[in-house]
């Protein structure tokens, strides 16, 4: 069992990575500690808090509930890939800044990834829809109100 390793190849934020991973290695640990992409945070390691959410081929997944080997051949997106290469915020990042949608910032990576995927599919969400989509991500600091406002503002901005 100790020697149960696999070679994997995947892209993260468009960059190709190859790795040799133990079967049981969590995707969250692979991203954070093997690839040094520590922007993805781990809050509960049982799939409830949502902090570790990343996109797998554009779909939000909990990287603490996935094994690294399961990401083989897939495209992963993380918080590090949201801003433009020269550092311009995405509309959602900008709106989170403008609306004070983060305090300690620990849950923020998961919220950004979950709601980025949500906004891709919901151009004109209602507040209730935003709250429903956000309800799988726990935040202990903000009381959610400013996050909700930020997502609505980002949707507005993205519609142009």
């Amino acid at each position: 069992m100790d020697n149960d390793f696999h070679d994997i190849a995947l892209t993260v934020n468009g960059t190709a990575y190859n790795g040799r991973v133990e079967s049981r290695l969590l995707l969250s640990d692979f991203l954070r500690h093997d690839l040094g992409l520590a922007g993805t945070h781990v809050g509960c390691e049982h799939g409830v808090c949502g902090a570790c959410t990343v996109l797998l081929d554009g779909e939000p997944v909990r990287s603490c509930l996935m094994l690294a080997v399961q990401a083989n051949t897939h495209a992963v997106s993380t918080i590090e890939g949201l801003a433009s290469p020269i550092g311009d915020y995405s509309p959602l990042q900008q709106a989170m800044h403008d609306h004070h949608g983060l305090q300690c910032g620990y849950c923020t990576p998961g919220i950004l990834m979950t709601m980025t995927a949500f906004l891709d599919e919901h151009a004109s969400p209602s507040e209730d829809e935003v709250r429903e989509a956000l309800s799988g991500n726990l935040c202990r600091c903000t009381g959610y109100q400013n996050i909700v406002d930020a997502v609505l503002a980002a949707a507005d901005k993205m519609r142009g």
């Binding site: 100790d2 133990e22 049981r24 290695l25 640990d29 954070r32 500690h33 040094g36 992409l37 520590a38 922007g39 993805t40 945070h41 781990v42 809050g43 509960c44 390691e45 049982h46 409830v48 808090c49 902090a51 993380t78 918080i79 590090e80 949201l82 801003a83 550092g87 915020y89 990042q93 989170m96 800044h97 403008d98 004070h100 983060l102 305090q103 300690c104 910032g105 620990y106 849950c107 923020t108 990576p109 950004l112 935003v130 709250r131 429903e132 956000l134 309800s135 799988g136 991500n137 726990l138 935040c139 202990r140 600091c141 903000t142 009381g143 959610y144 109100q145 400013n146 996050i147 909700v148």
Partner: protein, 782 residues
Amino acid sequence: MSTRSFGQPVKRNEDRKLLTGQALFVDDVELPGLLHVAFLRSQVAHARIVNIDVSRALQRRGVIAAYTADDLGTYWRHGPLLVPPPPISGAIFHERTHVPLAKDKVRHVGEPLVMVIAESRYIAEDALDDIDVELEQLPAVVDLERALAPGSALVHDDLDSNISAHLRQSKGDYATAAAKAHRVLRRRFLYEHGISSPIETRGVVAQWDARASQMTIWDTTQAPVFVRNGLAAMLGLNERNVRVIAPFVGGGFGPKIMMFYPEEVLLPWASMRLNRPLKWIEDRLEHFFATTHERGQIHDAEIAVAADGRILGIKDVFLHDGGAYDPYGLTVPINSQCTLLGPYVVPAYDSTFTQVFTNLPIVTPYRGAGRQHGVFVIERLLDLAAHELGIDRAEIRRINLIPPDAFPYNNEIIYQDFAPLSYDSGNYEPVLDMALDAIGYAGFKQQQAAALAQGRHIGIGLACYVEGTGIGPYEGAKVQVQSNGKVSIATGIGTQGQGHFTVFAQIAAEQLGVEVTDIDVVTGDTDQFYWGAGTFASRGAVVAGNAVNEAAKVVRQKALKLAGELFECSEDDLVLKGGKVSITGVPGKFITLGDLAGHANPMRGAVKPGSEPGLEATQYFGPPSGATANGVHAIIVEVDPRTFDVNILKYVVVHDCGTVINPMILAGQIHGGVAQGIGNAFFEKLAWDDQGQLLNASLADYLLPTSLDVPRMELSHTVTPSPLNPMGIKGAGEAGAIPVGPLFAQAIEDALGLLAQGIELREIPLSPSRLYELTRNGGERG
């Protein structure tokens, strides 16, 4: 030209790193040769340790070491007492502080027994299964009242009871007040506060560098300076050889300040022993046991009132669950005792509490820090008295408010900081009026009747509170203009999301005439600022903020003096604005702050005797006592009488925390506090069985409020500056969380007309199933 930023909703300096995944949290620290730590923790609440055998664990490939209490030798010692008992005559306190690894006996589930160090966290956790532990289980002390009954098992065998502390404080003569009263109401109240559950759990990284004789510790602590000093003493190192860094910390709310958590003591020790860097990151299951809690109190309280509803006196006797050890002294129950008095004139008060040892994790302050319990008791007593006397709930509060001309108002008892409980300033009635207006109190009865006619049960609640904030002893700050014109601020407190990188910059910007974005703030690194206490008791902005203000004032004076010398003019003719010093009325004649900083550190010439190089200053601020903030929350709820599903229709907060530095950040603090209050009022209950086992130790079972549970809030503020600091500010970190419990109980009672049925809601939390039980059982403890 810089516009004024102080008092404005300035966006946060710290956001960019957090929004792009570049902020350093403890678990992000990676070091060459890093080893990983896991702890074997007791699975039972109370037992004698017969034997621990780690030999099989040591044989596992990748395991480097496994240590038990015996391996620690003389390093094994009880943790320090963070807060000694207050100097009040008759106070009883039995100091029994925690230990790094259990020896002889375990006293709560989760108490660490063995530290395992391995090449990876995965292997370290595997190795925990290899350890053989033989325990002789003892009856667990869980129930507060049974803990004090004769014959109870003892948490600490060398004591003759489970009493940790006992304290009586009083003012006036309650017996006389009660004898004169129109009515005396006596009730029992149960209040459970939950756990802080920051989304980032705790963690420690320790790196011993033998060549430099330097210990570096990355720690999710709220008080890095205390940790540095304490660990240096324990490790036998000079304080200068220990650096504690609290980098970005993912929420704290109180429990991230403990002296010391076992892991904080053990990792540096083992790092020196192995000469390797070590990392331990708490997992969520561990967090339920290994991080401190706040929990329950049982109050037997009575209120003596006149016929018009005026409070004549209050008597309260309560039990406080302290957990297995008492490193925080009497802090939490003293907060309950003091905060019960609220914004009201209480001529006679007689309050006695007993802090009880139990076989449960340690209780230390969590956002509100016992204040919730006290506020629940007074607010519920007033509601019940109003009902009994046929007085409106708002009016019974109004007639008892401390009048604005009575400040400073001395409550004649001692607060958690050992200073007399004196309210520095306040103007309470306008806050109440604004809240009543905002919630629509006057028209509510009609609204309620109309809703009921449609079969909808809506109810209204309001609760008043005060919060002692911003206590001493002191904080300091160093403000430095760099030669590039940017300003650096360093302070010793830790930060966990409060916006310190921005509000401290706003304070310095006000003095130095520079942009907030040109000010870089460092918190929580003991090599950047040597002295300090920490972030707790809603004190960061008040105490460290005022230190920043004082230091920036000195830098301002230095800049003007130096520019006056360069320009050979009076300082009165100079203006400091837009990052430069100009001569009034002479456009084009100016020097930038950066150039001035260069002049203050010359390559040639002499710095005059008695002066210092550099454009910088370090100042300290210590308030004589805490500044008292106040507020009123009001709520309208709709309750389904069959399912007891409670829906919040409207939530109003009116708050006075003195001068506001940044209203956007302040609103965020209130929002987050209310959200935690809602969790406390509704969902968050640690469910223990009678053996001290936690039955809901996961976030799937211990429910935190989500975006579907926390409503949109309407906030307003009044401003009554504090006279205790030059900026007039009061703390705001805990205010949102404090009054939510009584608000819920009151609004649900109102929605369902419970008082008319003889059912009173005298406990928190009130989950739907608990509401079902209480209404079915007629309000008695079921």
